[in-house]
């Protein structure tokens, strides 16, 4: 790294990490009051929520995660968290693809 070089997009990344921490602290406090409390899931939720406060994305992911919380607590247990982790990554990708599809309105070939 040369003397005059900066790491590109560092401000954006730091701002994003700040959002993750704030969301994590808030959600950790709120969900700790319920029987659904699970720190790993709250962290994952914070990471994905911090990408966007878009209501469409927010509603979908929160409802999905609430269902996932119950499944995790009742049936899956600790090991099942890994599969839930897989599920959340896929879910996030799918939401992002739909979101970008709507946002960019790509022109289709005639």
């Amino acid at each position: 790294m040369g003397k005059n070089q900066k790491i590109p997009y560092l401000t954006e990344v730091l701002f994003y990490l700040g959002k993750v921490i704030i969301l994590f602290l808030i959600l950790n406090y709120l969900i700790a009051q319920t029987p659904l409390y699970n720190q790993s899931l709250i962290l994952i939720l914070s990471i994905f929520l911090a990408f966007s406060y878009n209501p469409f994305y927010l509603v979908l992911i929160v409802s999905s995660y609430l269902i996932s919380f119950r499944i995790a607590i009742i049936n899956i247990g600790e090991f099942g968290l890994l599969f839930l982790y897989l599920f959340t990554v896929l879910l996030n990708t799918l939401f992002m693809i739909i979101y970008l599809k709507i946002k960019y309105k790509f022109k289709e070939e005639e």
Binding site: Q5, P8, Y9, E12, V13, S52, L100, Y104
Partner: protein
């Protein structure tokens, strides 16, 4: 709390399925048929501020062993001396161009980006086959002859060239060089066995003119976008490992991150654009594998970066050190396998020695770029055709 060890188990799940799929395709790979005719080939070279390196690109084009060429250079509103360099090249090599019967056209347009430049240039083409070359890349003298020979049947819509990174004796350049080799010999070669090469690289690719109505516009990675469109039309895309093209790569971290962010963002856009389009079964399978294991599995690795601080905060140093050791052992093993495959095909045995450095490079620069691309995708604001620093090659 998910433990860091569980994260590694999760990565193994991704990596092993993906490697097994790729290796099985490499084993069945057989493509021997060749096409030996010499139809007119139109070479398209879009250029934006490439004064420093375009002469070498053009020289490599006119020194091809292939006999029937027309060369079309599209100056995309360059603000440096690119146009002057192209004009003086044409004058300087007039005799050679006449002698070899090469029609050399120079076209100007205001700056509109690479895809529009290619489409504008395509209007002036007369050949049934198109070859696109980046203005910062140069070809091996047999490259065009070799790449065209892969159009052995009517269903082959495009052929991807073998892009070799010019490392210029820099460590960062060398790491990118072996990364490119990994992409060519491990991913594209295996995709080629079923004719499903997902990305035709901008640096060197050949297209059957009927297969590509226009180069796709509106995304940051027009080469990925256009090749997916060709596959959706039912054509096959294969790889030509012997059609070699040398390309410049960023030689500083800042430019490298910018380039990778653009690729990742472009990849996300192309996935969004084509995700719900109809594809053949084998293309859908390749698409799904690329999506799950090649493209998005990266993001699962980023999550570990978020979990590590929690272990530091909770002073659970034994778990953290266990994670780091497990991670290093696992990474050395997995990249050892991959680089052995690369060394086998590229005859570069010392690539295996670079595994530890490659692990650091990959898990910092590449993962950082994936994260940034995700953040920018939601933030909005498209990147333009951003320039990386060019060097004399």
């Amino acid at each position: 709390m998910i433990t860091l060890f569980q994260l590694i188990i999760f990565w193994i799940l991704f990596d092993f399925i993906y490697i097994a799929y790729r290796v099985s395709l490499l084993i069945i790979h057989k493509r021997k048929l060749r096409f030996h005719k010499h139809p007119l080939i139109s070479v398209l070279i879009p250029a934006y501020n490439e004064a420093i390196c375009i002469e070498k690109t053009l020289t490599s084009c006119i020194n091809q062993t292939y006999p029937n060429l027309e060369i079309i250079v599209i100056n995309d509103g360059s603000t440096d001396e690119t146009l002057e360099v192209i004009n003086s090249f044409k004058k300087k090599h007039k005799n050679n161009l006449d002698h070899r019967n090469i029609d050399f056209k120079i076209i100007n347009q205001k700056n509109q980006g690479k895809a529009k430049a290619l489409n504008y240039g395509k209007k002036y083409t007369n050949g049934d086959f198109l070859i696109t070359i980046d203005a910062d890349s140069y070809l091996n003298s047999h490259a065009i002859e070799k790449i065209i020979s892969y159009f052995s049947s009517e269903d082959i819509g495009a052929v991807a060239g073998n892009v070799v990174a010019v490392s210029k004796h820099s460590l960062l350049g060398y790491l990118q060089k072996i990364e490119y080799e990994l992409g060519i010999h491990f991913i594209r070669n295996s995709q080629s066995s079923l004719g499903n090469v997902i990305v035709t690289p901008g640096a060197l690719s050949a297209y059957r003119k009927n297969a590509i109505k226009k180069f796709e516009e509106g995304t940051l990675t027009e080469d990925f976008d256009s090749s997916i469109r060709i596959l959706e039309k039912g054509y096959k895309i294969v790889m030509a490992p012997d059609a070699v093209c040398y390309t410049q790569v960023p030689l500083n971290i800042s430019d490298l991150i910018k380039q990778r962010v653009r690729w990742q963002q472009g990849g996300l856009e192309v996935f969004s654009k084509h995700y719900f389009h109809q594809k053949t079964f084998s293309v859908s399978l390749e698409w799904t594998f690329l999506f799950l294991f090649g493209f998005y599995a990266l993001f699962s690795k980023i999550l570990a970066l978020f979990v590590i601080p929690l272990f530091l905060i909770s002073s659970d140093y034994s778990s953290l050190s266990f994670f780091i050791i497990s991670f290093l052992v696992y990474s050395l093993f997995i990249y050892g396998i991959l680089f052995s495959i690369v060394a086998h095909y590229s005859h570069d045995k010392k690539a295996i020695l670079a595994v530890p450095l490659f692990i650091i490079y990959y898990h910092t620069i590449v993962l950082y770029s994936v994260l940034v691309a995700q953040i920018l995708a939601f933030k909005g604001g498209n990147q333009s055709w951003e320039k990386i620093k060019r060097y004399h090659t």
